[in-house]
């Protein structure tokens, strides 16, 4: 206990200004940043192709995180709840698409209904249907969760809702793992469309089975491109929704002041439900794309991406949509570069260290607004 007392304040009557010593802290951070920069630049010049390859896989990861992070940040912005079950909604999205594809062949329906359709259209329409179905199911699921578990606690202490969220998360993971639900196995995921890989080496070539691309080629796949495009589209449409539509205005009002919004005639409960639904739909979309990119799924699959996406949202400034996006991209790169150049086992540790350092410099994240004092 003598230790604990040591942090007791000592407040002499006359004190010198400590602002003069600010350089120490700044110098420390600068030294850290410099170190990272040197490592990065050195590794870039060591092997530029490898660097590019690693950066591409970081981008792919970052864009998936972005899709999940949007849901976290929206829900947090409006009800100030860390929705731990969000990662499990993401998992559910992957599973819905798995059942749709493997058990019901939903991705082939255009071919069954219109036999003359060209295969490329069949694939596109079929895959879109699968994705839409997952998004709708996830949205419904999130609204149900919100109604059953979170709504009764809206006026309870905030922590009660948080514990409930943890409970819901456990429930989804382990109820899903029961044998008659999804079973606890890692299930090989059947993709609704094939993955095609290209490599860049004197122009763009297709990678074919059994022929390794030449040394120094940079490979990328159609799923990486799809993830990036979809993620950017979703981000833009969400921006549009929030900034330019009536419901977006109502959402912003609710986030700003729930009671005042209510007084202005906004149906706050409905807005909260809509927010959950939109966030979950994005998570469902992310789940499908994630499963296509990394095709082995089980019920715990949402835990880590969910956590990382949440960290990304915090990094960018939770409550801010562009923040979530930028945060996710940084997170993806940080992970990928750490894995590539420092040490894979330390990857999560380093991602979190970055988070902590960023928060120390900008306490509410990169795009976050300064916290209002609760008085």
């Amino acid at each position: 206990m003598q230790k604990a007392n040591s942090s007791q304040p000592f407040m002499p009557a006359t004190r010198k200004s400590g602002a003069r010593l600010a350089w120490i802290g700044r110098g420390f951070l600068l030294a850290l940043a410099l170190l990272v920069l040197i490592v990065l630049i050195r590794s870039f010049f060591d092997n530029p192709q490898l660097f590019a390859q690693i950066a591409i896989s970081g981008l792919q990861l970052g864009f998936v995180y972005a899709l999940i992070a949007l849901g976290y940040t929206m829900v947090y912005g409006i009800v100030k709840l860390i929705n731990f079950a969000h990662g499990d909604v993401f998992m559910a999205g992957a599973f819905v698409s798995f059942f749709a594809v493997s058990h019901f062949q939903l991705h082939r329906w255009p071919a069954a209904v219109f036999p003359g359709l060209p295969p490329i259209l069949v694939t596109i329409i079929g895959s879109l249907t699968v994705i839409l179905l997952s998004m709708v199911v996830c949205a419904l699921m999130a609204v149900t969760i919100e109604r059953v578990a979170y709504k009764p606690l809206r006026n309870a202490p905030r922590i009660a809702a948080l514990i409930t969220a943890i409970g819901v998360s456990f429930f989804l993971e382990y109820f899903g793992a029961l044998n008659f639900v999804f079973s606890p196995r890692f299930i090989p995921y059947q993709r609704p469309f094939g993955v095609v890989t290209w490599y860049i080496y004197d122009g763009i070539h297709l990678v074919t089975e059994g022929h390794a691309p030449p040394q120094g080629a940079i490979t990328f796949s159609n799923i990486a491109i799809i993830i990036m495009v979809v993620s950017i589209l979703m981000q833009l449409s969400l921006q549009f929704l929030v900034r330019r539509t009536r419901i977006g205005k109502a959402m912003r009002a609710t986030a700003f002041d729930k009671q005042a919004a209510q007084l202005m005639g906004i149906n706050v409960d409905r807005i909260i439900s809509v927010t959950f639904a939109i966030g979950a739909a994005f998570a469902g979309l992310g789940g499908v794309l994630y499963a296509i990119a990394y095709p082995s799924i089980n019920t715990l699959l949402g835990v880590l991406p969910g956590l990382k996406a949440f960290v990304a949202a915090v990094l960018g400034g939770i409550g801010s949509i562009p923040g979530a996006f930028i945060g996710a991209l940084i997170m993806g790169q940080a992970e990928s570069l750490t894995a590539g150049y420092i040490s894979t086992p330390m990857r999560d540790a380093i991602a979190f260290t970055i988070l902590i350092i960023v928060l120390l410099v900008r306490p509410t994240g990169i795009f976050g607004e300064p916290e209002k004092e609760k008085v």
Binding site: I54, N179, R185, F186, V207, A212, A293, Y294, P345
Partner: protein, 385 residues
């Protein structure tokens, strides 16, 4: 002192209740505990282990039990985590008065359970814990009452290295390993040691963590190093992801792994061309294996209603049960010191080969090499110890 009164009242009740409980003890049955991770990180292993062990118990009971005594299974969830596993062990040993344990599956849970079981003179037969520390303590002393049904990491790594060099003629290898997984790490180290000792060259070694899904960074390095073989001794779920991403990146080197690959969920298309060492092959035509596969399939169905093919975990749990029961039969009593002695002298032909025990209570038995080809896993060869 109201508090005292309440406390002592409850205490008296508890004493009375537990006195009755211990009086209503065992009859002529042999209680066997099955500690399996039915929840937690690897529930599939738990389910296979439980089913395999229960299969053995049912067969013995159908034959009239051991020396006329029926076997009663007690299944406990040990979660592949030390705390719950130890709690489960305490419960079955002290509460249910069990003298025989089949389990745990994961080494990190088996080690503390083994320590406790050994101190209580309870025989523990781990079907699949491969770490040396399960049967031997940190000073190299054998834990008298602890046995296992699987071969240990060094042996499997050695077999893989020998096969890679002699049969596949692969002179260069790349190792991918999960630093946080003792099983993977053990196999990788054993492989590396045996491979380099026999003249092979390790051209690269990369770590990942078991929760990873994106391996493109590591695979980029594999593509750069151009090895003749990639050694990936992880579980099927990781193998599925890695081999799929490797195929998409155009990596042609064959992958090789250990018994963790063995699962009906192994993606045989992605892992095509790969090899792995295993405890047994369900395609084996020896009557023991054929009968086991048939009986298991008759008892357990998968989600489509088809008979399940037992994986290595089920086979080992089945062998573990049979080893234990044969030893009890040989000893002619359920006295654990006698059963322990019977186990050290056992010579049992199980599904995973002929088993005898060495001085460290590790089974001496052969390994099989399986080849993933044409969407199927086929038997390649047997490697004797």
């Amino acid at each position: 002192m109201r508090a005292f009164k309440i406390t002592s009242l409850f205490a008296l009740a508890a004493i009375a209740v537990s006195a009755c409980a211990s009086a209503g003890g065992t009859g002529g049955d042999i209680k066997v505990a099955i500690l399996a991770p039915l929840s937690g990180p690897v529930p599939t292993f738990g389910v296979s282990t439980r089913d395999g062990a229960l299969q053995a118990i049912d067969e013995w009971n159908a034959k009239g039990g051991i020396n006329g005594q029926k076997i009663v299974p007690i299944v406990e969830d040990s979660q592949c985590t030390p705390d719950p596993a130890v709690n489960a062990a305490h419960k079955v040993i002290d509460q249910d008065k069990v003298s025989f344990i089949i389990g745990e599956v994961c080494s990190k849970a088996s080690i503390p359970v083994a320590d406790y079981a050994n101190s209580k003179k309870v025989i523990m037969m781990s079907p699949t814990s491969t770490a040396t520390g399960v049967t031997v303590d940190q000073n190299g002393k054998v834990k008298d009452y602890i046995f296992r049904a699987c071969f240990i990491d060094p042996f499997q790594g050695k077999v893989a290295a020998k096969f890679a060099l002699d049969t596949l003629k692969a002179k260069t290898a790349f190792i991918m390993l999960d630093q946080s997984n003792d099983y993977v790490k053990g196999l990788a180290e054993a492989f590396e040691a045996a491979y380099t000792a026999a003249g092979g060259k390790i051209v690269g070694k990369e770590n990942y963590t078991g929760k990873d899904t994106d391996f493109s960074t590591i695979l980029a390095k594999v593509a750069d190093a151009k090895p003749a073989l990639v050694y990936l001794p992880d579980y099927y779920n990781v193998v599925n992801l890695v081999t799929k991403q490797a195929k998409e990146k155009g990596i042609t080197a064959p992958f090789m792994g250990g018994d963790g690959w063995d699962s009906p969920d192994l993606d045989t298309k992605a892992a095509d061309g790969g090899y792995y060492t295993n405890h047994y092959s369900p395609d084996d035509t020896s009557p023991t294996v054929v009968n086991f596969v048939k009986a298991y399939g008759a008892k357990y169905k998968d989600d489509k209603g088809q008979p399940k093919t037992p994986d290595a975990l089920a086979a080992l749990a089945y062998d573990a049960g049979n080893l234990l029961f044969t030893a009890i039969k040989n000893a002619g009593s359920t006295d654990t010191t006698k059963v322990k002695d019977a186990l050290t002298k056992i010579n049992y032909a199980g599904v995973s080969g002929k088993i005898t025990y060495d001085a460290n209570h590790n089974p001496v038995k052969s390994a099989v090499i399986l080849h993933v080809t044409g969407g199927k896993v086929v038997f390649d060869s047997v490697v004797a110890p």
